[in-house]
Symmetry: C2
Subunit: 552 residues, 2 copies
């Protein structure tokens, strides 16, 4: 059976029963149908001694790693061991679902359900973000249209528009054509919704009040005098916050094994911080003894940003980190062609394992126990698995586990779960990567050296010029959010394995004052994906009786 067939064959428990596992009464949730709900805010309870487990991974490859699948499977395994557990995941973007094989709800027997709803409109959070973002866009253009009291330079509006669709034709547009009553002509473009600063903000807000204050601080562009213009200047923070009044509430669903899953927020892990919402993770910690969560892409992006951007807001650091790796992906890192991944190749596996080594070392650097989950594929040989497990234990000095959650659900990660429980009993000794008052270049240099294993950072002329204005505006001590390719530890997507002695080139900075960080753009970062030649949409169908096919 494929993922949708497994999801459709499953019997979901009523969402009130899932809520009850977490001590939430029917009054404390807002059902969306029988098996989805929003959790009302504020959520009562304390984070206390609850354990936080971060699941991250090696650099993604076309071979597949299965980070979400392991996250779900680990949660199910902890539940099988009698623990009170909640999983906290990002919510998928609809756009990519129509393009390539989409979805971000785990796979096989380690899935969150109902996958067909979570991967489509879910509870409407993405649409609320799109609406809020584009309402702000319309209000900006209307301000310019109606006299431009704030003196906004139409050539310097940095607040683009968004849509939750892979639509390459909207990347670069000209708007405001058609004469005096139809706007002021200017260049513009659309990003995909998950790239909106509002998504990053939603995921870093502690409550509705904090959300509004952050929205006020968003810089939407600059005046003709090059002064920043904020949402507060436009006086529309109230309206934009109002549009997010429901989107800020975490969503509750369940795994195939009826483990509670809180799925909320999904910012990009390149131009944003790539983690589910602080409110979701905090809710999981308040309501369960074990909260299992993940960061986007590899440990160099989602992992680092979880540690350096999310935990200061969350006020809680992980008690354990699980790095997910696969034999296939490491062989790919070792130079094996995508088509030959199913053939045993111990030498390539050994060569590619340096990628895992780098990520394990960078996570260990934070002073938190690290474990490795080897997510087993059916084509992996015993010799390969044994070699990899031995390498991790002997060379990297961390516990490693053969997990089979796709095929066996929580039953495929019981040993991992036991080891995670044991690891979280250790006293935590979190070592931050940088100090809050380090300047931007210092912060970036520490990331490049300690996390990526590179040599240094080089600013291109535009970035250098921007840095000077940041000092003037007081933005030079903010956390930095590196926008780098996910495929390599360096800024060159083709450099697999564990490159060394490389320089990271910063092309441009993007201040995200609402989110509270400065994005450093390295290389070309695509913020609007395109559809492939044969989009997944062509295979999708729904019968007159509502049966869905072709959705993965």
């Amino acid at each position: 059976m494929n993922d949708i067939e497994i999801s459709q064959a499953a019997t979901a428990a009523p969402i009130t029963e899932i809520a009850d596992q977490l001590g939430l009464s029917a009054d404390q949730i807002e059902p969306y149908g029988a098996v989805k709900a929003k959790i009302k805010l504020p959520v009562a309870g304390e984070v206390g001694d609850s354990k936080l487990i971060l699941v991250t991974s090696i650099n993604p490859t076309p071979a597949g790693e299965g980070k979400s699948t392991v996250t779900v499977g680990l949660g199910d395994a902890l539940k099988r061991r009698g623990k009170k557990v909640a999983i906290a995941l990002r919510e998928p973007s609809l756009g990519p679902v129509m393009g390539m094989k989409g979805g971000a709800t785990g796979g096989g027997y380690a899935q969150v359900i109902p996958m067909e709803d979570i991967n489509l409109h879910f509870t409407g959070d993405m649409h609320a973000l799109t609406e809020a973002h584009d309402t702000l866009s319309a209000l900006i253009d209307n301000h310019i249209q109606q006299g431009n009291e704030l003196n906004i330079d139409p050539r310097q509006v940095t607040w683009k528009r968004v849509i939750d669709i892979n639509d390459r034709a909207l990347r670069q547009t000209v708007i405001g054509l058609g004469g005096r009553t139809s706007g002021v002509p200017r260049q513009d473009g659309f990003d995909i919704t998950v790239a909106s600063e509002l998504m990053a903000i939603l995921c870093l807000s502690k409550d509705l009040g904090d959300l509004k204050e952050r929205i006020k601080r968003i810089v939407i562009g600059y005046t003709y005098d090059k002064e920043p213009v904020t949402v507060a200047d436009l006086k529309v923070a109230g309206a934009i916050t109002l549009l997010l009044k429901d989107a800020i509430k975490p969503n509750l669903v369940q795994t195939l094994e009826h483990t509670p899953a809180i799925i909320h927020g999904g910012p990009f892990a390149n131009i944003a911080h790539g983690c589910n919402s602080v409110l979701a993770t905090q809710t999981a910690l308040k309501l369960a003894d074990y909260a299992v969560t993940e960061g986007g892409f590899g440990a160099d992006l989602g992992g680092e940003k979880f540690m350096d951007i999310k935990t200061p807001v969350l006020g809680k650091t992980p008690n354990a980190v699980v790095v997910v790796a696969t034999v296939r992906a490491l062989k790919y890192n070792g130079g094996v062609d995508k088509k030959s991944l199913e053939t045993e190749n111990l030498a390539a596996l050994a060569a590619g394992s340096v990628n895992l080594k780098r990520h394990v070392q960078s996570m260990k650097r934070y002073g938190v126990p690290v474990l490795v989950a080897v997510n087993r594929f059916t084509t992996d040989t015993d010799a390969e698995i044994d070699q990899l497990l031995a390498y991790i234990k002997d060379e990297l000095g961390v516990p490693a586990f053969d997990t089979t959650v796709w095929a066996n659900g929580g039953g495929g990660a019981l040993d991992l779960a036991d080891a995670v429980v044991e690891a979280t009993q250790q006293p935590s000794d979190f070592v931050p990567l940088y100090a809050p008052d380090d300047d931007l270049v210092t912060k970036m240099t520490k990331i490049v050296q300690d996390i990526y294993g590179g040599r240094d950072v080089e600013l291109e002329p535009k970035a250098k010029r921007q840095l000077k204005t940041f000092v003037k505006h007081g933005w030079d001590k903010l956390p930095v959010c590196m926008a780098k390719t996910q495929y390599s530890l360096s800024d060159n997507a083709k450099q697999l394995g564990a490159p060394t002695d490389f320089t990271i080139h910063v092309r441009e900075f993007v201040p995200k004052l609402g989110a509270g960080f400065i994005v450093a753009l390295t290389g070309n970062v695509l913020t609007m994906p395109g559809l492939p030649k044969h989009p997944a949409a062509l295979n999708m169908d729904i019968d007159a009786d509502g049966t869905i096919t072709g959705l993965f």
Copy 2:
């Protein structure tokens, strides 16, 4: 108290109780929080002898008519009289809410609640339509990008993009800029979501299967050889239908008096047919003895289209028509300036009453009992009300009632309700305006003469050329959907009252094969509104504790 304060002060009944009034069990609905739900399809039951009441009005004016308010109040009054009743309304578009005083949920003590949810994201139907529409747009541009197998002429793509925001800057755009990997450059533009053909289709579909068949028939543009290209040709009807799997389900809420209200679908009443969904109206008829529904704008647009476009699909004609009028609006029609409407002016009232006369006559023409509701404002004088009621009874020969639903809820329309019940006991004798196989010009001529009170129809050169191709494609016998200004019976918005001897000029036709009608564009019809100088958004706010202000 204003509308939102009244709404916030109200105590809504649990939605399961409202469902129970209609004989729906908890299993037959999908709750969206405690006081909103979707009704699962198919809805069991028969339309049988249930009575259908259409509420329509005179031409809208800046003075306000209150059609939705009367619809809600009449529903509440029928309930007070012990009838089993369901109201079927359109759902509001979010875009205009941020612009002018928005909302379409009635007013005062004749409101549907929770107005703050219904006027914002509600259950996500609008967003699902936006997503479905723009996914189709992206798939069209991607088809052209990836080799253009269907030979689509980029200059003749008629399927624009949509967004549920008043965004004048998106009316006319150039997309696909940025080079080879970012689409094919072409002129494009955005309409507001309610103008999407998908909205019209959703509102005319009998079930999920019918929805998909209609989507297949949508013409998205033409080939270089001027042949129509459909969604079926693109092979994506399944995916687009899938995105509407929940949006097709009618929404259930309640009035302040706990009368069930089914709010579903809201197409424009100019470029579309302006009525809530066939499924919503049919559901109201199946589950209640009295279904009270409305058409958009005046009887010349929403009323005519209800009769000629919606009822053939619904398979049921109204048992009574209520035309709403106000003293203020009729004085405005009689030449009184907007600022002087609160001063008694019997002469102007008499002069302007011809507008009401025209609408009453056109509705009587269908052979259905007609009644008039005079929606009283506090500034109306007794002399004005008496004169108007006497005119309606004596000159127009139909029953007329002084209603005060804004102030008194259902208690303000009890006499009207009694008369409506009596009227619906009369045997129905529906007389269609035109025969299905009349050609387009014949159909338009009958609308102009019998409904608008005009002389004839004139086709501009482009429309004439199109008519020839329609014959070739077999589209020349479809129902016609007139896109005309709502402010006048003629195609000149400044001609108030009841103009005669006028010609309607058809500039262009827009074939909507999925909806199953041909739109005839007369004059300039704006399908993307703009924001005013001081948008309503500037007054909106939400506190840290979730209290909303400034939303009307």
